[in-house]
Amino acid sequence: MMSSENEFSQRFEITGGDFSNAGRTSTSIKEILKEIGIDSSIIIRASIASYEAEMNVVMYAQRGVLTLNITPEKLHLRLEDEGSGIENIGLAMQEGFSTATDEMREMGFGAGMGLPNIKKNADKFEISSTPGKGTSLDIIFCLNKTERK
């Protein structure tokens, strides 16, 4: 997992439907970013994005792996999940669109802001999905001051 000297990686496994542990991964990621001394404005954005990504796995997939990778240039969050995937990515990226159940909405989720919120907070965002198989997200934050959003 850990390759070059100035690169830090960590893998986090997320279980679908495990609401009691939801949020742990993004809290751990936040702690790591603080220890490394990442700019606090980036920490806020990265925490929100990683939490939304984590919650997407908890709510819609069977399982997922979130990989955090930090180099002096960029912070990369890659999420790969096994689940139903997304039929229409364009629709899923629209604010307000959601396939959440009533129970999820009652818990305060499923407002259709997840993916758009990740995109809004990231410097670069890529999504690909195979219906019936799963979804993968690449969420990137530039640590190099000039490239920042």
Partner: protein, 458 residues
């Protein structure tokens, strides 16, 4: 050396290194080295959890002794509303305030009324505030410090209104100096405190301004003398004494009291640092945006649970609750005039002078590349540890120990699980050394080899 003033001191002579404090510290600010506990100043938020658990009373809150009073020409006591919860049902604030005057204070001021004013000011602030929610009460200085240290991103969500104790001290000094024709510095204002944290908020306010209070005396220190002073006081009319109590203000003694007496709908009350950490993690993730106001106290059940109080926390909490219920039932409204408060609010009467600034912890390294490298080392060290958080190394958890090693504050061999390995290596090196021909030059290079290897292992 110390950048931050702390109200907690460890008496090394009394400390027996029992590590209770090590385990209970919510910010992992304690290390036990050489059998003695020590505080990492940067991480300490003065919550006082360690004071409560220390079996040897080796951790002391730094409050003021009574003698401080003689430094001033006129002294005024401002008791925390939590003091009112320390006595039986018949002993109401009026009586307590007159008892305090018998102890040598020139005056005693009922903070409950100021608390009421500040409650209204908070209501006004909630109404006009447009930024991210929820807003966080600054009544508990440990919570303000927790945000500064651990949640710097939430700093602008702390309500920048002066806490009642500060506001009251500011106003009373002005008033008394005019009345008595004294200089403001000759008037001593003393807060009767339920916890040590209020002490640092006086010595070093979170917003870097200057406190209007001159000192704090612990409720536990004043309780005994006060109880004797109250003996023999005339039993006045219960109903009449009730009529002078500001219900909004009494609420400040307990967790949830502000929300309840203001009847705030979208509010949340939380107490105890473990639960606060959970709730603040949620705020940071943007999860509680639909909540307007959070009342948080580091002590369980609020100020009545402070480590410098006397009465059992559940009994005192219940006493305040019952008092609020009685006042609600009797429809007693001894509260400040809201129109007056609004007028003062418009004149910026309630706002703190400075600004709350974050106090984030020092990262592993100033240089980003080096910090990343050190974080990796920390993970590698952690993987090699037993992960049972035994505390024998002096750090509260294995992960905290790994960080101490990376920061250069601890040695890998401080972990007792690494000792056998270390012995094994050393004995192997010695036996190798003994097997070598006992030539003069060889012995020399052999000795060198050991010290080099030993160092490299660190």
């Amino acid at each position: 050396m110390s950048q931050y003033f702390h109200s907690i001191r460890i008496d090394a002579e009394k400390c027996n290194g029992r590590m209770k404090c090590l385990r209970v510290c919510p910010t992992q600010a304690i290390r036990v080295k050489g059998g003695k506990a020590a505080i990492i100043e940067e991480k300490c938020i003065d919550c006082g959890e360690c004071i409560t658990v220390c079996p040897h009373n080796a951790i002391l809150p730094l409050t003021d002794p009574f003698g401080e009073l003689s430094k001033f020409r006129h002294t005024i006591a401002l008791p925390s509303p939590a003091l009112y919860a320390q006595f039986g049902r018949e002993i109401l604030p009026e009586k307590i305030l007159s008892g305090i005057k018998k102890l040598g204070f020139d005056d005693a001021f009922d903070l409950a009324l100021t608390c009421g004013e500040v409650s209204f000011a908070i209501q006004e602030y909630l109404r006009e505030y447009k930024g991210p929610r929820p807003l966080i009460s600054n009544a508990c200085p440990a919570v303000v410090r927790l945000v500064q240290v651990k949640y710097p991103e939430l700093i602008d969500q702390i309500i920048p209104v002066e806490p009642p104790r500060e506001l009251a001290a500011r106003e009373i000094k002005k008033k008394k100096s005019k009345q008595l024709k004294l200089d403001e510095k000759d008037i001593g204002t003393f807060y009767l405190t339920p916890c040590p944290v209020k002490m640092i908020s006086i010595k070093q306010p979170a917003e870097k301004g200057k406190s209007y209070l001159d000192g704090a005396i612990s409720i536990s220190d004043i309780y005994g003398p006060l109880l004797s002073a109250l003996e023999g006081t005339e039993k006045g009319s219960y109903r009449k004494a009730l009529e002078n109590i500001c219900i909004l203000g009494v609420g400040w003694a307990m967790d949830g009291g502000i929300c309840r007496t203001l009847r705030l709908k979208n509010s949340l009350a939380v107490s105890g640092l473990a639960d606060i950490l959970k709730v603040f993690d949620d705020i940071e993730r943007g999860n509680l945006r639909n909540i307007d106001f959070i009342e948080a106290y580091s002590c369980r059940q609020g100020c009545v649970g402070g480590s410098l109080t006397v009465e059992n926390v559940y009994i005192s909490y219940n006493k305040i609750l019952k008092l609020i219920e009685t006042l609600e039932y009797e429809q007693i409204k001894a509260c400040p005039d809201i129109r007056e408060v609004r007028k003062l609010y418009g004149q910026k009467y309630f706002f703190i002078k400075g600004k709350f600034e974050p106090r984030p912890l020092t990262p592993l390294d100033k240089d980003l590349a080096k910090a990343i490298k050190k974080r990796k080392e920390k993970e590698e060290i952690f993987e090699s540890l037993p992960k049972i958080d035994c505390g024998a190394c002096g750090a509260p958890t294995c992960i905290a120990f790994a960080e101490d090693v990376v920061r250069g504050d601890a040695e890998l061999t401080d972990c007792i699980f690494n000792l056998p390995q270390k012995f094994k290596e050393l004995s192997q090196e010695f036996s190798e050394l003994l097997e070598e021909p006992a030539l003069h030059s060889h012995t020399k290079s052999g000795a060198k080899k050991i010290s080099k290897k030993g160092k490299a292992k660190k």
